[in-house]
């Protein structure tokens, strides 16, 4: 499909471009009509021959000239336009010439796009350029050092990865500045680095240094003259390509699908990535919904739109392989939409696989490895075959037959890893890349669940030539680094403290002024609002995580041969971003366990009089300042007896344990012990006894808690109680002597003042106290933290009952001062973690109070 098909067809119309340009040159703006028409024709045929660079150049030029002519401003910009056109025509004929001799025109370096700049834009461009230059010179230096250090460094992989990232960044920056030559060079360098890394070929140090030199020279030239032209890099590009091909060696088809970001919207890549991910999540959710209700056309529509939008926006960014895949998936979905196909498991699996691969490709834009060419081709052909239904066309089967596991299919000779045309899918119509950027974003946005938070709907930027933004407005978002957010939150925390210090300053309180009091009150209110707003910046919904679980449920249920219906509630609940990221793993383990161990096989269920389909519910809700995430199944429940006997057998419980004395919670908590599993056999799903241990660790790392409720035969509920954010905890402020400590409310059960009768001294075992029938050990914070001036008599102070790992104990303090939320800060000690303390909090008087880590505190008291 490459050279053979292209070589005979030189691009029609190219020859006539030159004379038309000359005519415009002599006659001015009135004569542009023909040129624009011809330009479009050339552009389209270029597109058909996969000459993406040329196609884009022609399209942009045609649009710009047309715009200029219609607004009568052509003559004003005539010089610029004509110079550009001359370059364009020259490039076009080069491409044409290349085609006729059977070469690959994608190796040519295209001229820059035609960009008209008014004074403002020019200034903006100059500023951007200046900023870029100042950074780039530094990063070139670093890059050079890194490359040189490769010869001495221990772990070249990391350095190579660093170099590759730098290259990638440079590429993107050149792209933003519309400097095609350097962009292309960086891209090829990146490709070559990849190829070398992947195939274990030593890093081509000399060659890369040449690349750096070339770029450096150009940067220097640019700093003198912003219009400096990029030197001739054809030779360098050829050498890079040769190295890459050599590295790939005979392993054609193994190489990864490469995405080249290009096009005039390259700088909107980050938005694309974010949005595409959101779309994929939606699509995945919809597909899972569809699998439970095959008649659910709305889900099909939603997925169709998701893929369609990804395809459209991907098209602007010239992500051809991605576009082709999205297109294939879309075609398949269209079959379902038009009732030509019924969507069964196979089709859903295919669409899900397409979603996964697109996800992988998107990840590859950020540096992760992409899918291999072969996987990509295979998937597309399967999608196409499925879309064609029973009447599989001859050529559609050809590719799958080439896919079996043994050696690669006859790959195109000299495989340019970048040329997507070489692996174009056997779809009848050419991948329909919409010529006009407007893949109906509006309906897609409307159809989203209304509560979807400000994640902006896909807003393909309006064509560069008409930037006044007509059409529906979408909420704008920007990306901000989390460190900056944290800094903001920190500073707001400071403000809150400073404000209350001012408020409590005796000098202020002596002033008897109503207006002052009012103003201070106002400042206080604004401060609190500000704090809330700052905190909310970090909050995201659990929706994405929950939808991932929907997918997991479907897969695990399929694997274990069970039927499970998943009910999701409260997916709009918001949590701190860090927390959301870290609950994913525990959820995976718990859901796997619930399905594998909890829910019975369909026959089993029927014989017990239950619905053959098990039900699993995943819900999130607020409860008393924390977030609860609940996983409830209606399976067989935990078997108390079995757990105890297993624990005795494994020696987890001492042999003299009296099972009757153990509370249900204590028994259930056994499953969190490492290596504890009641599964008779280890499956690939679960049973190794690692999972629940991980669950508990992760949740504790988040300062959360997990509880289990279970009824034999009726099911099990896991309840994770998590803090809203990691930065703030609810604390009980207590006093011991002259110092204050903060105890996390989460670990506190109750507090009381003991009467002398309740306290018992055990020989060699310290003190204990009777609390509602239980005997609990007493630890004195005064002794543990050496607070000499604390109270000694238990009856004068307060005992606080805390629970850690299902073990209850009492902490003795002088007094409870109150309850408040505190921002956790590091103590600034070099070795972090002082035993028994988890950090410090700055109190409203500006002083520091220490936050007690009850777990390590008791541990250390026990070992002392």
């Amino acid at each position: 499909m490459t050279a053979q098909q292209r070589s005979p067809m030189s691009i029609p119309g190219i020859q006539s471009l030159g004379p038309l340009v000359d005519r415009v040159r002599s006659e001015g703006g009135q004569a542009t009509g023909d040129l624009v028409r011809e330009m479009r024709t050339v552009g389209e045929s270029a597109r058909a021959s996969s000459l993406d660079d040329l196609a884009r150049l022609c399209r942009v030029a045609a649009e710009t000239i047309e715009g200029l002519a219609s607004s009568g401003a052509f003559d004003e910009h005539a010089d610029l336009v004509l110079t550009h056109l001359t370059n364009l025509v020259e490039f076009a004929s080069k491409c044409d010439a290349m085609l006729t001799v059977g070469g690959d025109p994608s190796t040519l370096v295209p001229p820059s796009l035609l960009v008209l700049q008014d004074a403002d834009e020019r200034r903006h461009f100059a500023e951007t350029l200046a900023m870029f230059l100042s950074q780039a010179v530094g990063s070139m230096q670093e890059l050079e050092e890194e490359i040189l250090s490769l010869e001495t460094v221990d772990k070249p992989e990391e350095t190579v990865a660093g170099i590759r990232r730098s290259m990638h960044t440079l590429k993107a920056e050149f792209g933003v500045l519309n400097m095609n030559g350097p962009q292309k060079l960086c891209h090829q360098a990146e490709t070559t680095i990849d190829a070398c890394t992947e195939h274990g070929v030593p890093f081509p140090v000399d060659l890369m240094l040449q690349v750096v030199d070339q770029l450096k020279t150009h940067l220097e030239a640019l700093s003198r003259d912003t219009k400096a032209s990029f030197g001739d890099i054809t030779a360098l590009l050829d050498r890079l390509r040769a190295v890459a091909e050599q590295a790939c060696g005979g392993s054609a088809g193994q190489e990864l699908v490469k995405l080249t970001v290009g096009g005039e919207f390259a700088d909107s890549l980050t938005e694309f990535v974010t949005e595409a991910r959101a779309h994929l999540t939606d699509a995945e959710g919809a597909m899972v919904a569809l699998s439970s209700d095959p008649e659910d056309l709305e889900s099909v529509n939603l997925t169709f739109r998701a893929f369609h939008t990804i395809k459209g926006v991907g098209g602007f960014l010239n992500l051809t392989p991605l576009v082709e895949l999205a297109h294939a998936a879309e075609t398949l979905l269209d079959g379902a939409r038009s009732h030509r196909l019924t969507f069964g498991t196979m089709e859903i699996d295919l669409v899900l696989a397409a979603g996964d691969m697109i996800q992988q490709m998107i990840n590859s834009l950020e540096g992760a490895p992409g899918p291999s060419q072969r996987e990509w081709k295979l998937l597309i052909s399967r999608l196409v075959a499925a879309a064609a239904g029973g009447t599989v066309r001859q050529h559609a089967v050809e590719v799958p037959s080439a896919a079996p596991r043994h050696e690669a299919p006859p790959a195109p000779s000299s495989p340019p890893p970048v040329a997507p045309a070489a692996v174009a899918p056997p779809v009848q119509e050419p991948p329909a890349i919409p010529p006009k950027p407007a893949p109906k974003p509006a309906p897609a946005a409307n159809q989203r669940p209304p509560a979807a938070t400000p994640k902006s709907a896909p807003a393909p930027a309006a064509p560069a030539t008409e930037g006044d933004g007509k059409g529906p407005r979408v909420e704008r978002t920007i990306k901000v680094s989390t460190t900056r957010l944290d800094m903001l939150v920190d500073m707001v925390g400071e403000l809150v403290i400073a404000q209350s210090m001012v408020l409590q300053d005796p000098a202020i309180q002596r002033l008897d002024s109503q207006s002052l009091a009012r103003n201070i009150g106002q400042v206080g209110k604004i401060t609190r609002d500000l704090q809330e707003a700052a905190m909310s910046l970090r909050m995201v919904t659990v929706k994405a995580t929950f939808q991932k679980m929907a997918r997991l449920v479907r897969d695990v249920a399929g694997k274990s041969g069970k039927k499970v219906a998943l009910v999701i509630e409260g997916e709009e609940t918001e949590l701190d971003r860090n927390v959301v990221e870290q609950i994913s793993d525990p959820l995976v383990h718990m859901i796997r366990n619930a399905i594998d161990h909890g829910i019975e096989a369909p026959d089993d269920r029927r014989s017990k009089g239950k619905d053959a389909e098990g039900s699993l519910s995943l819900s999130a809700y607020h409860q008393g300042g924390s977030i609860v995430i609940e996983i409830r199944d209606d399976g067989r429940g935990l078997d108390r007896q079995k757990l105890i006997s297993k624990a005795l057998e494994k020696g987890v419980l001492p042999p003299d344990t009296n099972p009757q004395a153990m509370s249900d919670a204590e028994v259930y908590n056994l499953i969190f012990l490492p290596g504890f599993s009641t599964a008779e056999k280890v499956t690939d799903l679960s049973g190794r006894g690692v999972g629940m241990d991980v669950v508990r660790r992760n949740i504790e790392a988040l300062r959360g808690k997990i509880e289990i409720d279970s009824r034999p035969g009726e099911g099990t509920t896991f309840r994770m109680r998590l803090p809203l954010t990691l930065a703030i905890i609810d604390g009980m402020v207590v006093r011991v002597g002259s110092n204050r400590f903060v105890l996390p409310t989460l670990s506190i059960e109750q507090s009381f003042r003991p009467s002398a009768d309740d306290v018992h001294h055990l020989v060699d075992r310290g003190e204990c106290v009777h609390v509602r029938g239980a005997v609990l050990p007493v630890y004195r914070l005064k002794d543990i933290f050496a607070q000499g001036d604390g109270l000694d008599d238990l009856a004068e102070g307060i005992l606080i009952v805390v629970e850690v790992d299902g073990m209850r104990s009492c902490l003795f303090v002088d007094e409870i001062l109150g309850q408040q939320q505190v921002v956790i800060k590091s103590l600034g000690m070099p070795r972090e973690r002082v035993t028994g303390l988890s950090g410090g909090a700055i109190m409203t008087d500006g002083r520091v109070a220490l936050i007690v880590d009850v777990g390590t505190l008791i541990e250390s008291a026990l070992s002392a």
Binding site: I784, G828, P830, G840, G846, A849
Partner: protein, 169 residues
């Protein structure tokens, strides 16, 4: 703690480049630390004692929203404790390999005196002495009318975290 970049006894000039030093009083002696390590000087504030740390770690303070430990240099050097006065200061220093990972710590001194420029010609090697502070002295600076003890503050702090030095501070 053998042969790191900081080697206190191999001739003072090898340790401290000539430059500006902050001088401060501790008991009867005058000490100096390189001004580049000093971040700021604040008056004495409320210190929250930090249990389970060496006794010379007096506790932690709130330095504009950041919690930092403060060290009592008198106690560290085995001197008689003295009550805090209006003159008592906390010298906040940054130690560590780079700005981003700097370990910030406050050192309590009796009083700070001045910032002075000391030329290389004034440096003297450390005499061998039995003072507990001996390990932490990088050299002496002989001035017209007095002697300044140049403190190797990184060594003082590396007692809390030995990795500070091995990472090539």
């Amino acid at each position: 703690m053998t042969s790191t970049a900081v080697a206190p006894n191999q001739g003072a000039a090898g340790v401290f480049a000539a430059g500006k030093f902050l001088s401060f009083q501790l008991s009867k002696e005058e000490y100096g630390i390189a001004i580049l390590k000093v971040r700021e000087i604040i008056g004495m504030v409320d210190v929250t004692p930090l249990p389970r740390t060496p006794d010379y770690v007096l506790g932690v303070i709130n330095l504009r929203g950041r919690i930092i430990p403060v060290l009592d240099l008198r106690r560290k050097f085995g001197m008689e404790p003295a009550p805090f006065t209006n003159e008592t200061c906390i010298v906040v220093v940054d130690v560590g390999k780079d700005q981003d990972n700097a370990f910030r710590v406050g050192c309590i001194v009796d009083t700070v005196s001045e910032v002075m420029t000391i030329g290389a010609e004034h440096f003297e090697p450390t005499p061998r002495c039995a003072n507990a502070a001996g390990d932490y002295i990088a050299g002496l600076a002989k001035l017209k009318d007095r002697v300044l003890i140049l403190l190797d503050i990184e060594r003082v702090i590396s007692d809390l975290d030995p990795t500070l030095l091995s990472q090539g501070a």
